[in-house]
């Protein structure tokens, strides 16, 4: 088995290397058959990577512990779904998944663009192949998942904290996000290499970018939910380097998704857009370097192998390549369109971009500060939560406000009087909400109050937008309200899908502000029958149970929950002791109030032999809105992504002549 896996990876390396060299030669010399052959090699590299992946999956399913990787990440009594997810439970498998996703994206993106942007695809192929070569080299030469050992009787098991449904899908979404950013990067570089700086690279990658960005966002939310439920310290985001590594490219991709609209509508910011795409990709590589090299300490520490320097080399290469290409093509990227006014849609998007990039760079600075300070002062200094929270407020709150303003300002230039008229309703709603919240006692946290006021403002503008749009359409067509509403969204998917995504970000902001600015906490050691009060909840420790699960002993402390005079049932918190892995994990008890979105969060920190338990209990208002935001986010993305036949036809006409297939004779 291992032989086939190794052979398949070697094949992938050969095929990507061929696609890189032959693809570059074909593009340079203008050889049609060679270009086609390079493209086929790229498709084939996906297939051989798939074969290697199937071999590894088979190794896990068949408990083939002669594979060192399987022996190190699985055991006989591990449930099947975790045997499958153990595939990406370690570094070698993670890299293989990276490569599988990359070759899949590359093949699909090239396949879909091969007619509409044939002359561009010729140049994109070697770029994608180059990225593939880098990753395959790591799998073949540095860190192979197919190393064999004398098979032990049983494997050493999977880290208990990874034995969770979230860990089955969370890494997959993150990879889909990270790796997906390679597609817009490759097309942007292909456009620069070929000098085809028209809009085809944007049109060809629009959906891929949104898919990658959505996957990255969902992956992070799943990770946050996992941390919340499984790691059990009472939070969901710790500003850890590994978490920041995923957040940074997401922020830059968000900036790009906005600024690209200015290029599409006004033809401006062409250099900026290419820069953002390059930055997003380089950041995803840099994040990998940070976490894999062990150069900064993280809660999630990975095995420190020789892989770090390689990634540093990749990052440096990618940065240099991007910079050189942009520099060389500056003349082609020049445009005549200019920013006409500082009060306009373009300007609002520009502010949004600057804030997003500033936020990203401050996070990068904080994440890299231990390295920088070590080099400068000889002492690694770690910046903590206050640093990140400070900048999240400084840059995040204006961003929230802009989310309400941006979509309503006219392109080119808007007068302040006109703006005042457009915003009178949302501003009124926001002020009323703010006053109401102060009366309700939300003034205890000023940032929280500001966040809620801004959120009310944005939600009001979004509702107003849908209402205005529907009314205008009804006035034009006389359709009934539901039809007009459906037509409005269906005919402007990107715009109204975008509003839905905005609504999800507002929900996220409300959830984050509620659970971090207005939470309460209590702790204490209880013996059976004793109670603890937190917020308006009273918890009474009733019983301690113990039970043998599939691969762990589960100890649970059961508590009665009361609020006011109401009996709310019980909540159980405890610990699992995993036998194969010889490890204990905290299992928190969470009681969600679906009506208010509030969570009661119970940690049994210490269970003593005499049955006394040390509890730590949080009340987290509105925290469930964060998870709801994830669903709304997906809905918004789907609306945006849904194919629009009208737009497809328009683009097909525009590119009919430009995209003659490169694999047909050129007459």
């Amino acid at each position: 088995m291992a032989d086939l896996g190794r052979a398949a990876l070697l094949l992938t390396l050969g095929l990507s290397a061929y696609a890189l060299v032959a693809g570059a030669a074909a593009a340079w010399l203008g050889r049609r058959r060679l270009a086609h052959s390079a493209r086929n090699a790229l498709y084939a590299s996906f297939f051989s990577t798939l074969v290697a992946s199937v071999v590894l999956v088979a190794g896990f399913v068949r408990d083939d512990f002669s594979l060192a990787y399987v022996a190190g990440h699985s055991s006989r009594d591990l449930p099947l779904q975790y045997k499958l997810s153990a595939f990406w439970g370690g570094q070698e498998g993670s890299l293989l998944l990276w490569l599988l996703v990359l070759t899949a994206y590359a093949s699909l993106a090239i396949w879909f663009a091969r007619r509409r942007a044939a002359d561009l695809v010729v140049w994109v192929t070697p770029v994608l192949a180059g990225i593939g070569v880098a990753f395959t080299w790591l799998l073949v030469g540095v860190s192979s998942p197919f190393d064999t050992i004398a098979a032990p009787a049983d494997g050493s098991g999977l880290n208990p904290s990874l034995q969770n449904p979230y860990m089955v899908i969370h890494p997959v979404f993150l990879y889909l996000g990270y790796v997906g950013l390679a597609v817009p990067f490759a097309f942007a570089m292909g456009a620069l290499l070929s000098g085809r700086t028209d809009e085809r690279w944007i049109v060809s990658t629009r959906r891929w970018t949104i898919v990658a960005w959505t996957a990255l966002g969902i992956g992070q939310l799943l990770g946050a939910h996992w941390a919340y439920q499984e790691v059990g310290w009472g939070g969901y985001y710790a500003w850890d380097p590994v978490e920041n590594a995923a957040l940074m490219p997401w922020l830059v991709a968000t900036a790009y998704l906005h600024s690209v609209m200015i290029q599409e509508k006004r033809g401006m910011l062409r250099v900026w857009n290419v820069t953002l795409v390059g930055l997003a990709f380089c950041l995803s590589l840099f994040g990998t370097f940070l976490t894999r090299s062990g150069i900064v300490s993280s809660i999630h520490s990975f095995t420190q192998s020789g892989i770090g320097p390689w990634f540093l080399a990749f990052v440096v290469n990618a940065v240099v390549f991007t910079t050189v290409m942009i520099w060389l093509r500056l003349p082609q990227l020049r445009t005549s369109a200019k920013l006409e006014s500082l009060v306009s849609r373009e300007a609002a998007f520009l502010y949004n971009n600057l804030l997003l990039v500033a936020l990203c760079l401050t996070i990068l600075w904080g994440t890299a500060w231990p390295i920088v300070s070590e080099a400068v002062r000889g002492e690694a200094v770690v910046v903590g939560r206050p640093y990140y929270d400070f900048f999240l407020r400084i840059f995040g709150l204006p961003l929230l406000l802009l989310m309400g303003i941006g979509p309503l300002i006219a392109w080119r230039r808007a007068s302040l009087q006109g703006l005042a008229r457009v915003f009178v309703w949302p501003a009124g709603v926001a002020l009323a909400t703010g006053l109401l919240l102060i009366l309700l006692g939300a003034g205890s946290s000023i940032p929280g109050l500001i966040a809620y006021t801004f959120s009310a403002f944005v939600l009001a503008t979004i509702v107003l937008e849908f209402a205005r749009g529907t009314a205008a359409r009804r006035a034009l067509t006389g359709e009934p309200v539901p039809v007009a509403f459906g037509q409005l969204v269906g005919r402007n998917r990107r715009r109204y899908g975008g509003y839905v995504v905005h609504a999800s970000i507002v929900l996220l902001a409300i959830g984050v502000a509620g659970s971090s600015a207005y939470d309460s906490v209590a702790e204490g050691r209880l013996t059976r029958g004793e109670s603890l009060t937190v917020g308006d909840y009273t918890l009474t420790y009733r019983a301690l149970t113990e039970r043998d699960g599939a691969n762990a002993t589960e100890i649970r402390a059961v508590l009665d929950v009361r609020r006011g005079g109401d009996d709310l049932g019980t909540v159980a918190a405890g610990k699992n002791a995993y036998s194969a892995e010889q490890q204990v994990s905290n299992e928190v008890g969470i009681r969600s109030d679906l009506l208010t979105g509030e969570d009661l969060f119970v940690i049994a920190e210490q269970v003593r032999d005499d049955g006394a338990v040390f509890f730590r209990v949080f009340v987290k208002p509105l925290v469930n809105l964060i998870w709801l935001a994830g669903l709304v986010f997906v809905l918004g993305s789907l609306i945006t992504l849904w194919p629009d036949a009208r737009e497809e036809r328009r683009l097909a006409t525009r590119y009919a002549r430009a995209g003659e297939p490169a694999d047909r004779p050129a007459t």
């Binding site: 028209d198 006109g418 525009r654």
Partner: protein, 107 residues
């Protein structure tokens, strides 16, 4: 073990054939050069993009004005520029296309 190695070798052969396919299918094509856009075609493409952009801007401004997103005075101050841009873009496309057909005739 050898079974797996043989499978690997078979995979290698199959994939190499896929890669070589363009050459196997056309051992001696009349032309092996890539279709490149001529300067005129590229200019036409960019003119089309500019036209689409300008017309979309005009359409959006009208819709925004109708929906009440853009006030009357803002609309009046911008509509002239947007219309002129659209007219410019259309004229540019006409000129480019005219040059192209003209060139074809003279050939």
């Amino acid at each position: 073990m050898s079974v797996w190695l043989a499978l690997g070798a078979a995979l290698a052969v199959a994939l190499v054939v896929v890669v070589a396919l363009p050459f196997l299918r056309e051992p001696a094509p009349p032309s092996d050069s890539l279709h490149e856009l001529t300067a005129a075609e590229r200019e036409r493409l960019e003119a089309q993009e500019a036209r689409d952009r300008a017309l979309a801007a005009l359409k959006e401004l009208e819709a925004d004005h109708r929906a009440g997103r853009v006030s009357d005075e803002d609309y009046r101050s911008v509509i002239g520029v947007v219309r002129r841009d659209a007219a410019d873009a259309l004229r540019r496309l006409d000129r480019v296309e005219g040059a192209r057909t003209g060139g074809a005739k003279s050939r």
